[in-house]
């Protein structure tokens, strides 16, 4: 009895395996128009309507699962896109910063070439700290005495004069900007060609004024102001000549013709400094004007 069961079981298995292999072989070997293909297509004709009806009936379930899946996918996509967006924003910020640095360095090169500042052994420095308000006109740069920087050396950027080194450590230096209340420099106006002294404007942070102008009535709004490269009787100039300082922005008239307050807007954007140059070499003797005592 048991042997009969075993034989029957094995026979059934063998029959189905052989049938499957036979079907497989014949189906695989025949052309698309063969008998088994035709049977399959015929069966599909019968099953087709059932499948179609079932497909319609089950559509809400598919949609429900699809909605859940789509929602999960959308959440994943949203997270990925947010991460990508953050990354791109960082890249844009980096690129903008790099572009601004490039622009500033390019201007520095231009002023070196055009203004002949290469003769003053310029040392490029990055601004590492800056004042958080307009009333404190000093910045810190990442070059110090180890790079040849000394106190009183002029500092410029691509736009013009920035200030003067006032403190030096081996690795860092403090630069007093031209808007600092201790700043003063011999200057010259272009156009009207007037000798003067430029210094910070009292009670007007970020503004400069022309003082000791020979003929103030000749100065016009829009005149450019550059360093004179000279020393007055009272003030010693640390700055080479022909470095842009700013532009006459406003002239306030007083009681008399000579009573004028001439305001100068700095050429450099002092609130947005990234790179500057320290001119580590003294101005040659021929650049010193002859209006006063020559710089030693």
């Amino acid at each position: 009895m048991y042997d009969k069961q075993v034989r029957r079981r094995r026979l059934v298995l063998a029959v189905f395996v052989v049938l499957s292999l036979g079907l497989l072989t014949v189906y695989f070997g025949e052309s698309a128009g063969g008998g088994l293909h035709a049977v399959q297509r015929g069966a599909l004709q019968v099953l087709g309507p059932i499948q179609e009806g079932a497909s319609r009936a089950l559509k809400p379930f598919r949609d429900l699962f699809g909605w859940v899946g789509d929602t999960l996918d959308a959440k994943q996509q949203r997270d990925k896109l947010l991460a990508t967006n953050e990354q791109l924003e960082r890249q844009v910020t980096d690129l903008q910063a790099t572009r601004a640095e490039n622009e500033e360095l390019r201007r520095l090169l231009e002023i070196n070439d055009a203004g002949g500042l290469d003769a003053y052994a310029p040392v490029k420095a990055r601004v590492t700290a800056r004042p958080s308000n307009l009333f404190y006109s000093r910045i810190t740069i990442d070059k110090g005495s180890s790079s040849g920087v000394e106190v009183d050396q002029p500092v410029v950027n691509g736009a013009g004069l920035i200030g003067r080194v006032t403190q030096v450590t081996p690795g860092y230096s403090v630069v007093s900007l031209i808007t600092d209340d201790e700043f003063a420099a011999a200057a010259r106006t272009l156009g009207s060609n007037q000798q003067a002294t430029v210094q910070s404007s009292i009670n007007r942070p970020g503004d400069l004024e022309l003082e000791l102008v020979q003929n103030p009535e000749k100065v016009r709004k829009g005149d450019r102001v550059i360093t004179a490269g000279s020393t007055s009787l009272r003030l010693r100039s640390y700055f080479p000549q022909n470095i842009p300082i700013g532009t006459v922005s406003r002239i306030e008239l007083g009681d008399g013709d000579l009573d004028r307050r001439i305001h100068v807007r700095p050429a450099a954007d002092l609130g947005n400094l990234l790179w500057v140059e320290v001119l580590t070499k003294r101005a040659p003797a021929q650049t010193v004007a002859s209006t006063g005592t020559a710089t030693p």
Binding site: G22, L23, L36, S55, L58, R62, G66, G69
Partner: protein
């Protein structure tokens, strides 16, 4: 076990409904990025419940339906599902596992045999099978998914076939206590 026309009818209904459900709905619902495949689970469940001969026959039928419904090469699914049904049936006949999670384990093996066997057969038949890490991952995920749904599928199949199942010891004991039969404790 006697195979009656009623049992054949129910098996046919299970096969037809299962395959139509598979082709029309389940194949289009992806979980973990892969669709579930209930065909090997149905065959494994029938094999576990009714034995190797019925399991192999059912597997052959379901395989034919799957291949016909999806216009695949006839005989591929049949061959694999015959093996699945026969194997599950033999496990029942030899071991008679009573653990509640047996259908899960059997479902996992059935899904693995079906997925991997299908890939191997396609490869042997010369069909270009993209052998890649992605395929392996998908096969593994499909096995995991089928393992997770094996228990409910088994429960449904068992429910449908309940009147035709041979009495299992647990059911017999339960009926004896609740219908006034003698409890083993009352013999003394």
């Amino acid at each position: 076990m006697t195979v009656t026309p009623a049992l054949i009818g129910r098996l046919a209904a299970i096969a037809l409904v299962g395959v139509v459900l598979q082709v029309c709905a389940l194949s289009q619902i992806e979980v973990f990025g892969v669709p579930a495949d209930v065909a090997p689970l149905l065959v494994a469940s029938v094999g576990l419940l009714l034995g190797s001969t019925t399991g192999a026959s059912f597997g052959f039928g379901v395989g034919l339906l799957v291949d016909t419904g999806t216009l695949q090469t006839l005989g591929v699914s049949s061959l694999l599902l015959v093996a699945v049904g026969y194997g599950a049936g033999r496990l029942r006949e030899l071991r008679d596992p009573a653990h509640g999670l047996t259908p899960m384990a059997v479902g996992a093996v059935a899904a693995a045999v079906s997925s991997i066997g299908y890939a191997v057969l396609q490869f042997l038949l010369g069909v270009d099978v993209p052998l890649s890490g992605l395929l392996v991952r998908d096969v593994l995920l499909a096995i995991v998914l089928d393992t997770l749904i094996a228990l409910p599928v088994y429960a449904v199949v068992r429910r449908v076939l309940l009147p035709f199942l041979p009495d299992d010891p647990r059911r017999r004991r339960r009926r004896a206590y609740t219908t006034g039969g003698l409890s083993p404790l009352s013999r003394a």
